[in-house]
């Protein structure tokens, strides 16, 4: 079913694509949602009707061409449909992260000039109502889940279902129906199709405006690249506001005509994944890491026979799995052993993870550990890497099947031009490239080169095989006092590949030597503590335990050893480190919503600890303000022991690892 071939060129907006699917594959499943414990399915024809009802309802509320309509919530069919409904009208949908705090959300709603907000539930509605005095433009708030909202009496607050019912009733009238058809036809591919706010790694979020035409062209080329068809299926669990969800699920789904399954809730996503068994899947490295940690913890507790089988066959997989996956020639005995392993371990394991039917899986966003990557590849998961940006509408580079490696992100994706500027910055031109930042023309100009390439802000270089390797954010790459190159992320990633380390912050720019602040991973260190009779009551207490310090010290030592073998990096070994008394958290502004460390902010907040790292102290203490989940603030007072780690001598004869 070559859907790329079937799709006509006329569809240059998502609304038109939807209409086309309703005709061509009207009875194929388009959306699923688990509700009341059962998977409910909607066909493309039904989705088209529901979306039209939603569009007509929104017209009734005064939403019109050029207006922005915000969406705050999790992956639910009605929220996706309202996105397309806005696009039918010519309004611009702008999805926001459901977990952003009220103040953050209000700032973005203000910036987006949203007149209508689609909110998932009481939680989102409450957030908006609490800041409503700042949001004079927001005239209507529509909610999907009515629970708890029964006795709210707020102007402009409606149930989304009620608005859709009104729309449905209005569409009975032939004139209204024809008017909606006219609006769909009037939509131009060059119109703004969506505004996606960036996660704000480097300061305030910017609204990236994408056009329908460019989005669809980009999605078509990757749908062809990975041979996606209407028979594929995905679990749409990534944040609605993130380019990854909008591209991989929404845009590719609407282009290829495949089915998007929405999980019951964020807590059930892992179980829902098993039930749906998607064929195309994306997860950031940290998710794959958490899954592997979970598997390993369970294997620790398994019986002796199971444990032995697992160890035995994971060795077979490690030795032969990737080579078999890459289609290399391997001895018959290896194939036999791998086949047996597949029967006993790999296939059941993939099934337990919900990966049985996956044809193509991607990971991106952060560097992935070689061992972690190899684990999934070796049990037969076609896991690949891509490198992308919101400004590119995701894909800049992507690995092709059978040309996969863990330490690079692949050659340029189809029809994408990538070049490395003289200062090492990666720049690109792509079919899905953004139109501009919403209401920030100066920022748009800053992001583009004179000849129209987008500056990514990432430093990288091409390897001999044409794959791009990203080292760090260009502006984060610093130097020690002695001129030694210092890419903090590179060092942090090496630390984070240890399952016991959740987060790491390397410091060194303009300093004498490199130091690190570390967050332990509570799941795996906690499990270790349980098995070793180490008792603890909180993260803080466990982090301060001498045996934990010792364990992390060994990891730092191993990283130093690896660094000493790289000529470029030998002088960037970690001389001193400490374990942070508090977990870095997005609610405290220490991480972005996509869980990336905010370097500058951390440097300010934890200044007393950093001073301790450089003034030779053996302990440093801090008082940090923390925010509880209900928004109240508290103070955290903690102290950290500082540990010296002697560096290894430079090993000039060794090849770069």
């Amino acid at each position: 079913m070559g859907s790329a071939r079937e799709t006509s060129v006329a569809s240059d907006t998502f609304a038109k694509l939807l209409r086309e699917h309703a005709v061509r594959r009207g009875d194929r499943p388009a959306f699923r949602h688990k509700d009341f414990g059962l998977w409910q399915t909607w066909t493309w024809a039904q989705v088209y009707n529901e979306t039209r009802a939603s569009a007509a309802g929104l017209i009734g509320l005064g939403l019109d061409r050029g207006h922005t309509m915000a969406i705050a919530g999790a992956n639910r069919p009605k929220l996706y449909w309202s996105m397309t409904a806005a696009q039918m009208i010519g309004a611009i949908p702008a999805p926001f992260y459901a977990d952003s705090v009220a103040d953050e959300l209000a700032t973005l709603l203000e910036h987006a000039e949203a007149s209508v907000v689609i909110a998932q539930d009481q939680e989102q509605v409450d957030k908006i109502l609490s800041t409503r005095d700042r949001l004079p433009r927001v005239r209507h708030i529509l909610y999907d889940e009515p629970r708890g909202l029964g006795d709210y009496d707020e102007p402009g607050l409606h149930a989304l279902a009620a608005v859709m019912a009104k729309g449905r009733a209005a569409l009975v009238d032939a004139i209204a129906s024809a008017d909606l058809d006219r609006r769909i036809d009037a939509g131009k591919g060059s119109d703004p199709s969506v505004i996606l706010y960036t996660s704000g790694t480097t300061g305030r979020s910017k609204g990236v405006v994408l056009s329908g035409e460019r989005s669809i062209v980009a999605a078509r080329s990757t749908v062809a690249f990975d041979r996606l068809t209407e028979r594929d299926e995905v679990l749409a669990y990534l944040p609605l506001a993130w380019v990854g969800d909008h591209y991989l699920n929404y845009a590719q789904g609407y282009v290829a005509g495949f089915c998007m399954a929405c999980p019951e809730s964020a807590d059930t996503a892992a179980g829902d994944l098993r039930e749906i068994g998607p064929t195309f899947h994306f997860a950031p490295p940290r998710v794959f890491e958490a899954l592997l940690t979970g598997v390993e913890i369970r294997m620790e507790d398994a019986g002796a026979v199971k444990k032995w089988l697992y160890r035995r066959f994971m060795e077979v997989a490690k030795r032969w799995g990737e080579r078999i996956a890459n289609g290399e020639k391997v001895p018959f005995s290896a194939r036999l052993a791998y086949g047996l392993g597949d029967l006993l371990i790999y296939a059941p394991l993939k099934n337990a993870l919900g990966f049985s039917r996956i044809r193509v899986a991607y990971t991106a966003g952060e560097a992935i550990g070689a061992d972690l990557f190899a684990f999934y590849r070796s049990i037969g998961l076609n896991l690949k890497q891509l490198y992308g940006q919101t400004e590119a509408f995701l894909y800049v580079t992507a690995q092709a099947d059978r040309a996969v490696r863990s330490d690079a992100v692949g050659p340029p994706a189809p029809d994408v031009y990538v070049r490395i500027a003289s200062d090492g910055e990666v720049q690109f031109k792509s079919p899905g490239m953004f139109v501009g930042y919403f209401r920030e023309d100066d920022k748009t100009r800053e992001a583009l080169t004179e000849d129209g390439y987008v500056k990514t802000g990432d430093a990288g270089f091409f390897e001999a095989d044409g794959q791009l390797k990203i080292v760090d954010r260009a502006k984060d790459v610093g130097r020690l006092v002695n001129g030694q190159l210092f890419p903090p992320k590179y060092i942090e990633n090496k630390l984070k590949f240890f399952p016991n380390i959740r987060e790491a912050v390397a410091i060194g720019d303009g300093r004498e030597f490199v130091t690190a602040m570390i967050n332990i991973e509570l799941a795996s260190v906690g499990n270790w503590a349980e098995r070793n009779n180490v008792s603890y009551a909180s993260y803080q207490e466990l982090a301060a335990h001498p045996r934990v310090t010792e364990m992390i010290g060994a990891h730092v030592d191993a990283v130093n050893h690896a660094l000493s073998r790289e000529p470029m990096m030998a002088a960037a070994q970690i001389r001193r480190f400490l374990i942070l008394p508090k977990e870095l958290d997005a609610d405290d502004g220490e991480l972005t919503r996509t869980q990336k460390v905010r370097r500058r902010f951390i440097a300010e907040r934890y200044a007393p600890l950093i001073d301790g790292l450089y003034n030779g102290a053996e302990e440093a203490s801090i008082a940090a303000e923390i925010t509880y989940e209900d928004g109240r603030k508290g103070k955290l007072v903690g102290a950290s022991r500082i540990v010296d780690t002697p560096p290894y001598p430079k090993a000039p004869e060794a090849r770069a690892a």
């Binding site: 414990g37 059962l38 708890g148 807590d267 059930t268």
Partner: protein, 260 residues
């Protein structure tokens, strides 16, 4: 308030209960109005749980009368009480530990099953249609209590706070007229208490259950309840709206005083 909402659902008159020589409840009278949240508080051993046991027919008082929905009785068995719409949860969670969350909540529907055992075992025809209907009710409760993620998990493997929630779900599955909650928030952290309070209020407002609850957290009691009954050594020492009870010197001495 309308007259109907003000109607007395349950009246307890001059009830006394003793076990051998120990007097657990002496001469207590109070009532529960339709649609209210009624709290029973008091120090340990004040007779709160005994009072709930009297209300749902588990204990039979030696003296006094109980009038429920206009019918006065002196003796009633727990299953009669259940059939008449009285559901309860227990101080120490009483669930089937080996069964899943869903199955535990389904047991709350057993009194509503019309078809006999054989029909149900066959899972056919009208029994199947009936089971589907019961399952739908249970799923609504699962959705209401936000426990989708533990639907298929054996209850014994769940943390205490979630077990309490499942037990509450089972009581709700009976679609009770009167819901008796024995320390629904004991041993919970602040966040769990906030969640549970929300569920109690919503069960009352939206599902129309009249609620009598025993609770030690005075903050929760004062926030949630319409009227508070205070017991000490089996005697009623105060009864009224939270503001009045809170200011009553006898209550402060007997109970709140302990916290000061």
């Amino acid at each position: 308030m309308t007259e109907a909402a003000d109607a007395i659902l349950l009246a307890v008159e001059n009830v006394s209960l003793s076990f051998g020589g120990v007097r657990a409840i002496s001469d207590v009278s109070f009532d529960i109005r339709k649609g209210e949240i009624r709290a029973i508080i008091g120090p340990n051993g004040a007779g709160k749980t005994s009072m709930l046991n009297v209300v749902n027919g588990f204990y039979h008082p030696q003296e006094g009368r109980i009038t429920y929905r206009g019918r006065t009785r002196s003796r009633m068995k727990p299953h009669d009480a259940a059939e008449q719409g009285v559901a309860r949860t227990f101080q120490n969670v009483a669930l089937f530990k080996g069964m899943t969350t869903l199955d535990n909540i389904m047991t709350g529907r057993s009194l509503k099953m019309k078809r006999g055992l054989i029909w149900q075992a066959l899972r056919h025809g009208p029994a199947l249609a009936e089971e589907i209907e019961h399952r739908r009710v249970c799923e609504e409760i699962i959705d209401f209590l936000e426990i989708e993620h533990i639907r298929k998990v054996p209850v014994g493997a769940l943390p205490y706070g979630l077990q309490k929630r499942v037990e509450f779900g089972r009581a709700l599955a009976m679609e009770p007229t009167l819901l008796l909650l024995d320390e629904p928030m004991a041993g919970m952290n602040l966040e769990e208490k906030e969640d549970m309070s929300r569920f109690v209020v919503e069960a009352n407002r939206q599902r129309g259950a009249t609620i009598a609850l025993i609770e030690h957290d005075i903050g929760v009691v004062m926030d949630l309840s319409d009227r508070v009954l205070v017991l000490e050594y089996g005697r009623k020492i105060a009864d009224g709206v939270p503001e009045v009870v809170k200011a009553d010197p006898k209550v402060i001495d007997a109970y709140l005083g302990l916290g000061h």
